[in-house]
């Protein structure tokens, strides 16, 4: 089974659907699970206790966890000086603390089997230092730093930890970003085009599978940075 957070929409939804199409058993976690066509539980990644209850239930049911895709995230495109403190907290809590919580809570289920793969989501905004995304980038830079160190901690247990860092992808997260801004970002990528959610799913599938057995502690940029 593979856990996908942020599974109700955007990249999380796309990754979850791709995995299901490929025959994987997926457990989605998201705040809104209404009408999701796959097994899902309601939960906020910022809430450690909820995640712990989910993990305890999985352990009791002896579910075999093979991977975790931490795709839950929020974005806010604002200059740092015009971002309210509450939004700063929310970005850090969901993007960084939420990712850490999921890793802390679900990794022990894979440690038992000494096998697993964890994918955390970053952004191209970290590598490019994009104007107007400083706090969002800070939260994701934290995810990258955490993932590199966590990869070393998990290596003894044969669990790989990698980051996927997409550029602009056509999802809800891009709403509110002008075409001009998107073009500015895309032009700085190695491959200057807007990629599709399917491209991110391809990469996640690769990182979850045995073909990526030699990769851990890496940040992979969709589009190149």
């Amino acid at each position: 089974m593979i856990i996908v957070t942020g599974a109700s929409r955007g990249l999380g939804r796309s990754v979850a659907e791709r995995l299901i199409e490929s025959g994987e058993e997926v457990l989605g976690i998201s705040r809104d699970t209404k009408s999701l066509p796959f097994e899902a539980v309601a939960g906020d990644v910022a809430d450690h206790n909820t995640l712990k209850s989910i993990a305890q239930k999985l352990r009791k049911e002896k579910r075999v966890l093979e991977g975790v895709v931490n795709a839950a995230g929020i974005a806010s495109m604002n200059l740092a000086v015009t971002t309210p403190p509450s939004m700063t907290q929310k970005l850090i809590q969901t993007n960084l603390v939420g990712t850490i919580h999921c890793c802390q809570v679900f990794a022990p289920l894979m440690i038992r089997r000494k096998k697993g793969s964890i994918i955390n989501f970053s952004t191209i905004a970290v590598a490019l230092g994009l104007k107007g995304e400083s706090i969002y980038a800070a939260s994701k830079a934290g995810v990258e730093g955490f993932s590199r160190a966590f990869a070393r901690e998990m290596a003894d247990f044969n669990i790989r930890v990698n980051c996927v860092a997409p550029g602009p992808i056509r999802t809800d997260l891009l709403k509110g970003v002008s075409e001009e801004q998107i073009e500015t970002i895309v032009s700085q990528q190695v491959l200057p085009k807007v990629f599709e959610p399917g491209d991110v799913s391809d990469l996640c599938q690769f990182l979850l599978g045995p073909s990526s057995a030699s990769l851990s502690g890496q940040v992979l940029h969709v589009g190149g940075a």
Partner: protein, 101 residues
């Protein structure tokens, strides 16, 4: 002895469970004592073994019909960690088993 599905356990039982788990995860290479350090410069187990010990205790707790939570704020934020020694870990294991009843 059991009541309501829970197995009644005293502190000595808890300590014996912790000691047995250490022997098990180290393939009998370590002869643990009550005051053996689990963290810090004198730690006998490496970090990998410490995690394995926690998971082994989680399994034992499940057999005894309670949840052993080694990651809770209460367990981790005590001024003196539950991982200080075999005894302190056994005490926490015992307390959690009692709280579950």
């Amino acid at each position: 002895m059991t009541t309501c599905g829970y197995i009644i356990m005293n502190l000595k039982d808890s300590k014996n469970i912790v000691l047995a788990c250490i022997v098990e995860i180290t393939d009998d290479e370590i002869k643990p004592t009550d005051e053996m350090s689990l963290i810090g410069k004198d730690a006998t187990l490496d970090s990998m073994k410490l995690v394995e010990l926690c998971l082994a205790l989680e399994d034992k707790a499940a057999d005894l019909k309670f949840e052993f939570d080694w990651t809770s704020e209460t367990a981790m934020s005590k001024s003196r960690s539950l991982f200080r020694t075999v005894s302190s870990l056994a005490e926490e294991f015992h307390v959690q088993s009692q709280n579950a009843q």
